[in-house]
Amino acid sequence: MTSHAEAVHDHHGPPEANQSSRIDARLLGMLLFIASEAMLFGSFFTAYFFVRVVNPGAPSEWPPEPYHFPVFVAGVNTAILVTSSFTMHWALQSIKRGNRTAFLAGMVLTFMMGFVFLLTQVVEYLNVGFNTGDGAFASVFFGLTGLHGAHVFVGLTLLGMVIVRGFRGHFTPEHHLGVELPGIYWHFVDVMWIVVYSVVYLI
């Protein structure tokens, strides 16, 4: 709509894409992804609490007799995963400061600890003494911890890509979004495990 015939747009082609949110589109994508993941975990937690509340011995008897959760092993695993977040943070801070060796060391350590966590979880599954068919509690236990394990696997894939790119000389103190986004995801996976471990194993 105009009151004058003169065109005011001197440039050709479509206008610059609007970015009303003022957040980098890739970061926004990761935030939305994490929000959807939180909702997914929320649905699994709802199922878990429902099963736990309708358990005949609720709330004190959990898991139902004669089963037991390997609280200590899972606790050690928790410590490993939490430590991996520290190394992830160290790696990102290192690349921000231009310390490539520390960055790569941090990334490799993070990957290794994540891998050990996943491996320990597999060993835990093999020795836990019950299977998915042993009741609703077992289904919800494997569902919740398995969902988290799947996220660790995805996180490891992302970390693996970062490591490969890192060894190829990618990332600089100015350009490291490719490390930042997997870092955010890895911390999210860690936060979810803190919740899973607290409510499933400890409380």
């Binding site: 105009t2 005011v8 747009h9 870092g183 955010i184 911390h187 409380i203």
Partner: protein, 209 residues
């Protein structure tokens, strides 16, 4: 407080807080399950309260690249029902006389929240179109070059869209007087001043006079 997952550092801090919070919740639950639940609710409530009350670091002020001739003044006018107000016409007249100026008028399609949520926007857009048409005709009659468009219901989004398209170097915002202006209550003018690296003129139009 910034979004806990807006950067890796923020996510890491959130992780540390989660560890502390859940250590407390687990400890309380061992003493008494209801105490644990109570603490969980209290901590969650506190987190929500802190998140909603505190503002994170604002984004840097945006510099808009110049479009057209360097000596050209490109003025973006944002107005609601006050679009035809004498005070606004006076300011536009002064700017038009002072420099070689181009004007772009944005009339946000003002709507109620309920109608926005239900996508009932047609009447609001029709009303905005009439306001804009009247304004453009009035400006044309006094020889002022102007273009215009209907904007988003949110004035900040409407301005953001128009800024991308028109690339102004000055903003004029017209509102009702303090106390009757919804935009002033929401801090639209101050938000625009914080957001853009350009002069923002606030014109108060009192339609009741």
């Amino acid at each position: 407080m910034e979004s806990p997952f807006r950067s890796e550092a923020a996510a890491f801090r959130f992780l540390l807080l989660s560890i502390g919070a859940f250590a407390l919740i687990v400890g309380a639950s061992w003493i008494n399950p209801w105490l644990g639940l109570l603490l969980f609710l209290a901590l969650s409530g506190t987190a929500v309260w802190v998140y909603t009350r505190q503002r994170g670091p604002g984004p840097p002020r945006e510099q808009i690249a110049q479009l057209g001739h360097p000596d050209e003044k490109r003025v973006l006018v944002v107005a609601n029902e006050t679009v035809g107000g004498d005070e606004l016409m006076e300011v536009i007249g002064e700017l038009a006389l002072a420099d070689k100026s181009l004007f772009y008028v944005i009339c946000p399609a003002l709507n109620t929240r309920l109608k926005t949520w239900t996508s009932d926007e047609d009447p609001a857009r029709a009303a905005a179109r009439i306001r804009l048409q009247t304004m453009l005709e009035r400006l044309s009659s006094v020889g002022v070059e102007a273009q215009g468009d209907i904007g988003d219901v949110d004035p900040l989004v409407a301005v953001e869209d128009a800024v991308r398209l028109f690339r102004p170097n000055e903003l004029v915002v017209s509102t009702h007087p303090e106390g009757r202006s919804n935009w002033l209550e929401r801090g639209v003018v101050s938000a625009l001043r914080e957001r853009y690296e350009m002069p923002v003129t606030h014109v108060v139009v009192d339609l009741s006079r």
